[in-house]
């Protein structure tokens, strides 16, 4: 029995699960001639402040630093651009151990953040129910205190003769970490382990938040579908949850690794001269040695190394379309 009146409620747009990212967008406005110029210009006008901001506060200093890195001279006689590219080679030759250490510490901290952060993000996104907002606030709560103060607090926590050291010593944990070269004797402070712990603590929220965001978007109905299709609980995680949270893992690791590799506060306050990272070298070249060209060259080298690693990482993760 076909009715001449087709009721509107019967015709529904097909639902496209997960189609929010790549759904073809058809703009009704675009087809309409009339005032396309004004409407077309508006987005650019709105972009202007951000573009100016980046130009003045990002691009200009970059160019300035680039020029500094190619100068020679001294503080007394003044610096001059001489295209002295050798500064780069010399700087890298002198400080590559600190670079390697930076990457090692940042990589370790990133890995620790992932291992600690993933279960927590999963708990908040999937299981927390009405506690999720409370838990999210708790995750970002450390930001209410200054970075410096928090790192100083860690100094007290890990201090020689403190409770933590005493406990770990009694449990013989320090013997193990000492054998691995992570700690020295019966102290935590001024060891690589302390620096990595500090870095992990500092950047953990940057790991948890993107992980939470991507896990929160995973449709629980997909878990049911996977269970229905003979996937045991571990298989559901490995085949569905984990791949679908990959964008969160990628952005979380980047947000942790990049700032961690340039960090110098943790190494400064929790480490020793043996744990100096690239950031510490740059800081001292700029502020103590006052060798500006070397400091600027080191900054660019660090940037280049991190950029290279991140590019390789994203390529390898095969997630270019996910990070986009």
């Amino acid at each position: 029995m076909s009715a001449t009146k087709v009721s509107g409620s019967e015709v529904r747009a097909p639902e496209i699960p997960g189609g929010d990212t790549n759904a073809p967008e058809v703009s009704a406005d675009r087809a309409r001639p009339g005032a396309p110029t004004r409407r077309g210009a508006l987005p650019y006008v709105l972009l202007l402040p951000a573009v100016l901001w980046l130009l003045v506060l990002f691009l200009v200093p970059m160019v300035y630093q680039a020029s500094t890195s190619l100068q020679t001279g001294s503080l007394e006689e003044g610096f001059e651009v001489t295209w002295h590219v050798r500064t780069y080679a010399d700087a890298f030759g002198a400080y590559w151990p600190q670079f390697a250490r930076s990457l090692l510490y940042a990589g370790s901290a990133t890995l620790l953040c992932l291992v600690l952060g993933y279960p927590l993000a999963y708990l908040i996104a999937v299981k927390a129910g009405r506690w999720r907002h409370t838990l999210l606030v708790l995750v970002v709560a450390p930001f209410f205190t200054s970075f410096l103060i928090r790192t100083l607090a860690w100094k007290a926590i890990l201090a020689d003769g403190g409770t933590v050291v005493a406990l770990l010593d009694r449990l013989h944990v320090l013997d193990v970490t000492g054998a691995l070269g992570w700690t020295e004797g019966n102290r935590l402070l001024a060891t690589p382990l302390a620096v990595v712990c500090g870095l992990t603590y500092s950047f953990l929220p940057f790991m948890i938040l993107p992980l939470y965001a991507s896990l929160d978007r995973v449709d629980v109905r997909l878990h049911e579908a996977a269970r229905d299709l003979y996937a045991s609980a571990p298989a559901v995680f490995r085949r569905v949850t984990l791949p679908l949270s990959l964008p969160g893992i990628v952005s979380g690791t980047l947000l942790t690794f990049i700032p961690a590799s340039g960090d110098y506060i943790n190494a400064e306050l929790l480490g020793s001269t043996d744990t100096r990272m690239a950031g510490n070298v740059i800081q001292s070249q700029f502020l103590r040695v006052l060798d500006y060209p070397t400091a600027a060259a080191l900054s660019f080298l660090l940037m280049a190394v991190v950029l290279l690693l991140v590019t390789v990482y994203i390529r390898r993760a095969g997630t270019e379309d996910l990070v986009r």
């Binding site: 529904r12 097909p14 639902e15 699960p17 299709l229 085949r239 679908l244």
Partner: protein, 403 residues
């Protein structure tokens, strides 16, 4: 194909029937809400079974209990005689086509379809997946991602992904609800074709009575957590057992009436002073004089004649041999006035106010040229008493009964 199911109000020891799906007294309670009341059902192997009901009637919960995604509060699910109630979802030989399709967005069509096979450790999946995609006519879409497909195509991927595992029972949770009308009609035919081809038991949950009737060998109409009536669609339509079924499955004109005579093959009732005849076989048993019955007739079974043409004027009495004109003897008759007429192409739908009840519906096939009666016209509604049915004005005792 006509009698694939035996409704089992009282579970009888079953002879053989190796692959039947049996629900034995299963129920589901959330807190104090009874989503599904204790339910006994047997779905014969290879049949197409539909659970039909409005949203919230418990049909999806029943489906999820069969799938193992929901744990029944009481009762058991038996598959081919084996109790699978305690088997987790991933160990049940049952697969589901979800309403949202729930396709894996990170996998292409091929990998979506292969998912179940791979989880069971089957290595060579390529040929099977290809075969299954051909069955649902998506052979050349194997490398697309779900979001690159239309709604109908996604639906077919979901179907293929479930069917490839050769489940004992395939569960379909409103699989066509997200599609537009034309596509839904096409997919309906497709589903029926696939089911006939693979011969797997389908249990289909829907709120669309047309869909249930078109697809299923047996329909169970659910209401408020219980099965109101169960049987082949034609039987449910022709002889609804409860007012709910009469109203949910198609349209019914229900008129309250009082029983005047019983005995023999026919009972007589009066409604608003008009006598109507009902076959005794189409009424509840144990009818006594003075009982109140709901008398029903389907809108397309009624014919309309202009009051002037019948030669009797108003107040025609059913069964009386006083009629001249074009109304044959022995038909049930009511008088009324047309208040609304909607031309639907194939038929015209009339709404008629009668002294017995306002808002009676009549569908008249547009066979003849020219127009039918206009709104305002006085007409006589008449129909063969054989099409009349009687119902008690109360929900039937549900299969399995309340606790």
């Amino acid at each position: 194909m006509t009698e694939p199911i035996s409704p089992q109000a009282v579970p009888v020891p079953e002879p053989g029937a190796a692959g039947d799906l049996r629900l034995a007294g299963i129920s589901k309670t959330y807190g104090t809400v009874r989503a599904v009341r204790p339910l006994d059902l047997t779905v014969e192997q290879g049949s197409f079974f539909a659970l039909l009901g409005a949203s919230g009637c418990g049909k999806t919960t029943t489906l999820r209990m069969i799938a193992g995604l929901e744990e029944p509060t009481t009762g058991a699910v038996l598959l081919g005689g084996h109790d699978v109630t305690d088997l987790p979802a991933h160990k049940r030989p049952v697969n589901t086509v979800f309403q949202s399709y729930a396709l894996f967005p990170h996998l292409d069509v091929h990998e979506n379809v292969a998912f179940g096979l791979r989880r069971r450790g089957i290595r060579s999946v390529r040929a099977k997946v290809g075969e299954m995609l051909d069955l649902v006519q998506l052979g050349d879409h194997a490398r697309r991602r779900p979001h690159q497909l239309s709604g109908g195509q996604q639906q077919r991927v979901a179907l293929a992904r479930a069917l490839i595992n050769r489940p004992r029972v395939l569960l379909l949770d409103e699989p066509l609800a997200a599609l537009d009308l034309a596509l839904r009609r096409r997919m309906r035919l497709e589903l029926k074709r696939v089911q006939t081809e693979v011969g797997i038991t389908f249990v289909h949950v829907t709120h669309d009575q047309e869909e249930a009737m078109a697809l299923a060998d047996t329909v169970a109409v659910m209401n408020a957590g219980r099965v109101e009536q169960l049987g082949p669609p034609a039987e449910l339509y022709d002889r609804p057992g409860t007012p709910f079924v009469a109203g949910f499955l198609g349209t019914s004109n229900l008129v309250e009436a009082t029983v005047t005579t019983t005995g023999g093959d026919e009972i007589t009732v009066t409604a608003g002073g008009v006598a109507l005849r009902v076959p005794a076989g189409r009424c509840p048993r144990d009818i006594a004089r003075g009982d109140t019955l709901l008398i029903g007739v389907r809108p397309e079974k009624i014919s309309l004649t202009h009051a002037d043409d019948t030669g009797t004027g108003s107040g025609g009495v059913g069964g009386a041999a006083d009629g001249g004109g074009s109304v044959a003897d022995g038909r049930n008759r009511l008088t009324g006035r047309i208040v609304d007429a909607a031309f639907l192409g194939v038929s015209t739908q009339y709404v008629i106010d009668s002294p017995v009840r306002a808002g009676l519906e009549v569908y008249v096939q547009n066979v003849d040229h020219g127009r039918g009666p206009w709104p305002g016209a006085e007409v006589v509604l008449h129909w063969d008493p054989a099409h009349t049915f009687g119902l008690r004005d109360e929900p039937a005792a549900a299969t399995g009964g309340g606790i």
